[in-house]
């Protein structure tokens, strides 16, 4: 039981990170119907921004953790959002209305470019960061095994809940959210009623990248080591999560992320750590076979 609780805590933490990345995939897919393959790498770039800004702050002597965290968060989010915006501007906007596969190939190219860009500028080795927020609480203890909840995990949960509630409100009740949902339904009609479609899509990319940057910051702090390749695996799993939850749906993306995180944690806890990715994909295949639009997605109506 204790072991179960510990895996649950780990799984929920992992799931929160996947969920935040998945929101970016889900929103972009919902609005322009493409897999933004470079999104995982945007997450990786967010993690690198967080790491480097932490180091810079260390040099400047700003070591009071809350202040440092706030500065890192702001800088990482702004700079990573700039990446999201630029990627859309350079690689996807010229391809609007092009054949369906063109933006996908462009996105894969962008992903390869970003990975190698970071590898070139920052080196291929893993980058360690000392633990910034150590410690935690012990929830239960029995026979030498204790269930630990670290402060970092609590912070990750809290941040995720705040962000998801905030963005759900944003999509439901603001002008931007309405514009986004309008573009999702029909881009041409949206532009006819005076919505700036290009700007709405750009904003979507900026929001997705910001959330990915937060996820990147959390991963940097939680695991304490990052490299230029983390974006690929995390990106695939986050996309899996987005599909699992029902693509285009924000709560769905979060739910999917949580499920993938839990499956991974329990599978590696009880079965084998080597096959945890296989388990995650296996579940995805099963869900898609029996519920092709994901858990919370609306069924697609086929028209001739």
């Amino acid at each position: 039981m204790l072991y179960f609780t510990q895996q649950l805590i780990n799984g929920l933490t992992l799931g929160a990170v996947y969920g935040l990345i998945a929101i970016g995939y889900s929103m972009v897919y919902g609005i322009i119907g493409m897999i933004n393959f470079a999104h995982g790498d945007i997450f990786m770039i967010g993690a690198f921004h967080a790491l480097i800004v932490f180091l810079i702050l260390g040099y400047l002597g700003i070591t009071w953790v809350p202040l440092a965290l706030l500065i890192v968060l702001l800088v990482a989010v702004v700079l990573t959002a700039a990446y999201g915006w630029s990627v859309e501007r350079v690689a996807y906007r010229p391809l609007r209305g092009a054949p369906r596969l063109a933006p996908l190939i462009s996105a894969i190219g962008m992903s390869i470019f970003l990975q190698n860009f970071v590898q070139l500028t920052q080196g291929a080795r893993g980058k360690p960061l000392h633990s910034v927020i150590p410690g935690g609480i012990t929830l239960a203890e029995q026979g030498g095994f204790s269930v630990k909840l670290s402060w970092m995990q609590l912070i990750i949960w809290a941040t995720t809940i705040v962000l998801v509630l905030g963005f759900t409100w944003l999509i439901r009740s603001t002008a931007l959210g309405r514009a986004q949902r309008a573009c999702q339904q029909d881009m041409k009609m949206a532009s006819l009623v005076g919505i700036d479609v290009d700007r709405t899509i750009s904003t979507t990319f900026v929001i997705g990248a910001s959330l990915a940057a937060v996820a990147g910051l959390m991963v940097t702090l939680y695991y304490g080591v990052i490299d230029f390749y983390i974006g690929f695996v995390a990106g695939i799993k986050a996309f899996t999560a987005a599909v699992l939850g029902g693509i285009g749906s924000l709560p769905g993306a979060m739910l999917g992320g949580m499920l993938i995180g839990l499956i991974e944690a329990f599978w590696s806890g009880y079965f084998s750590i080597e096959y945890k990715d296989v388990a995650a994909f296996g579940i995805l295949v099963l869900v898609l076979i029996f519920r092709p639009t994901g858990l919370l997605g609306r069924p697609e109506v086929e028209k001739v």
Binding site: Y29, G33, M34, I35, F48, H49, L51, I52, L55, I56, Y59, V75, V78, L79, A82, S86, V90, A91, P94, L95, A98, P99, L101, A102, P103, I105, S106, I108, G109, M110, I112, L114, Q115, N116, F117, V118, L120, T121, Q122, G123, K127, H130, F232, I236, T240, V243, S272, E274, Y275, D277, V278, F281, G282, L284, V285, L288, I289, P292, E302, V304
Partner: protein, 496 residues
């Protein structure tokens, strides 16, 4: 587009010399570049003892910002129809970069003009003025819109397609005997043709049947491991294993395809991607069977109709060079492998072209265009898709066997997702459904980087950037063509 620039409002008198459209654009590009580079390029993390250290590169950031600002300004002027300012800017920039590069690079007295430590990047920086000058030329010569370079060149290539295919085939046939060709070049082209074959195989799935497969490399892996395992465990020869490997790959295609082929478009893409990764993970972890991350060594080499390419064949048997009375040369095997993959690739091509004329091939194309309509006229979508999937997988299996035989060893590292992405990129960049386009795209994507191996650090960077640029420049692919093979009216259109 406004004919000339409008004046800028008060508050920016110094900028009124520059049209608003131009400085806005330049400013946006400059600010964006600053944000993109200030941390990632500006501070390099250096692994030392214990903590990471930082090394600052302010020069690189400054150069990137200046280049982006001036480049965007030049493009802004071009949009307004002004070619004088961009020409001057570009020539100036090219001069400043070219002077130190041409007067000895690192040893030049003007070395302080160079923005980067790495010479390759300095040469790469020349691309900015080069692109601007190209654009100037295009506008001066009036090659925009209908007459744009891409359209004209595309049209010429399109018309020359039957010739082009023939010429490429002839070059491919005589390549190893051309005077300037050495072992390295034959090796590179063997690799290119392997990718051409994979591209043609995937073209059946993606180009003809319209099924987006992001895990094609899984079947390539099945083929390679089938041959490697059969050869090492049972000592079977390449030619005995080839059909088995193809059949196993096709079976894998059917097994994986059956549950997922009713998914559409991007869902199918992500599931196939998942399968590709699953097979790779299994190859890594199924240690006693696949050798794990170390892979399988000493895979048997293919023979020439039973004649091995050994220097010293066992007593009483012939090897290739003794049978034909030639001096032994390791070049024989290289050339043999080259022709082997060429024949494989041509068979794949021929098969695809014939398939297109069969009812099954036509059903694939019909299914790609409209699945609902296909159901209505009685085509079974699942079976039709499954055959496309299985046949595509079979060719990947053949190519995989060849790969294992050529390398002499296999390991999971060769079958990562990026390989699937590259093969898909070859199909899409070439123009979906175009057989010659696949060849051109493979030459560009595989051949070009191989010739620039010295720049290996920047190779993949340029590769990714190239994929984006080709797509933005020609979204339909180099040879865009997605016409059904069969048409009403005057006979059917023939695809070369």
């Amino acid at each position: 587009m406004a004919a000339t620039g409008t004046t800028v409002g008060a508050g920016a008198p110094a900028l009124s010399l520059v049209p608003e459209q131009v400085w806005r654009r330049a400013l946006a590009a400059g600010v964006a570049t600053f944000l993109l580079t200030v941390v990632i390029v500006g501070f390099e993390t250096v692994s030392g003892t214990g903590q990471l250290a930082l090394r600052a590169h302010p020069g690189a950031v400054a150069f990137a910002v200046i280049a982006a600002t001036l480049g965007a300004a030049a493009m802004g002027y071009l949009q307004l129809g002004n070619t004088a300012v961009p020409t001057v800017l570009a020539l100036l920039a090219a001069g400043l970069l070219g002077l130190p590069l041409l007067t000895g690079g690192r040893d030049s007295p003007f070395v302080w003009l160079l923005p980067f430590d790495a010479m390759a990047l300095n040469w790469g920086a020349l691309a900015v003025p080069a692109i601007v000058l190209l654009r100037v030329m295009v506008i001066r010569l009036g090659l925009t819109g209908e007459r744009s370079v891409a359209n004209v060149a595309g049209g010429v290539v399109q018309r020359a397609l039957p010739w082009l295919a023939g010429v490429l085939a002839v070059i491919a046939l005589v390549l190893p005997f051309l005077p300037f060709v050495d072992r390295r070049i034959v090796d590179i082209f063997t690799l290119v043709i392997t990718y051409v074959m994979l591209g043609w195989g995937l073209n059946i799935v993606v180009g003809l049947a319209g099924l987006l497969d992001l895990g094609y490399v899984a079947f390539y892996a099945v083929g390679a491991y089938s041959y490697a395992l059969l050869s090492v465990t049972y000592g079977l020869s390449f030619w005995e294993c080839l059909p088995i490997a193809g059949a196993l790959a096709a079976m894998t295609g059917i097994i994986l395809g059956f549950p997922v082929l009713r998914l559409r478009g991007d869902y199918l893409a992500i599931v196939t991607l998942g399968f590709g990764e699953m097979i790779r993970i299994i190859l890594i972890n199924w240690y006693w069977f696949t050798g794990g991350p170390n892979g399988i060594n000493d895979v048997g080499r293919p023979s020439f109709f039973g004649l091995p390419f050994d220097r010293n064949p066992p007593e009483g048997t012939d090897s290739f060079h003794t049978f034909f009375g030639l001096e032994f040369s390791s070049y024989h095997r290289v050339v043999f492998l080259y022709y082997l993959i060429l024949v494989f690739a041509l068979i794949t091509n021929w098969f695809t072209l014939r398939m297109r004329r069969l009812p099954l091939g036509r059903a694939w194309e019909a299914l790609r265009e409209d699945e609902t309509a296909c159901r209505a006229i009685g085509i079974n979508p699942t079976n039709t898709k499954l055959t496309a999937f299985a046949i595509g997988a079979m060719f990947a299996g053949f190519a995989g066997s060849f790969f294992a035989a050529r390398q002499g060893f296999v390991s999971p590292e060769s079958f990562v997702f990026i390989e699937s992405a590259v093969i898909l990129a070859i199909v899409v960049l070439g123009g979906l459904g175009s057989q010659t386009g696949v060849v051109l795209a493979a030459l560009v994507l595989i051949g070009l980087p191989e010739f620039f191996r010295e720049l290996k650090d920047y190779r993949m960077l340029a590769f990714g950037l190239g994929m984006v640029m080709i797509m933005v420049w020609r979204p339909g692919g180099l040879l865009a063509r997605r016409e059904p093979t069969l048409r009403l009216g005057k006979g059917s259109a023939a695809e070369p």
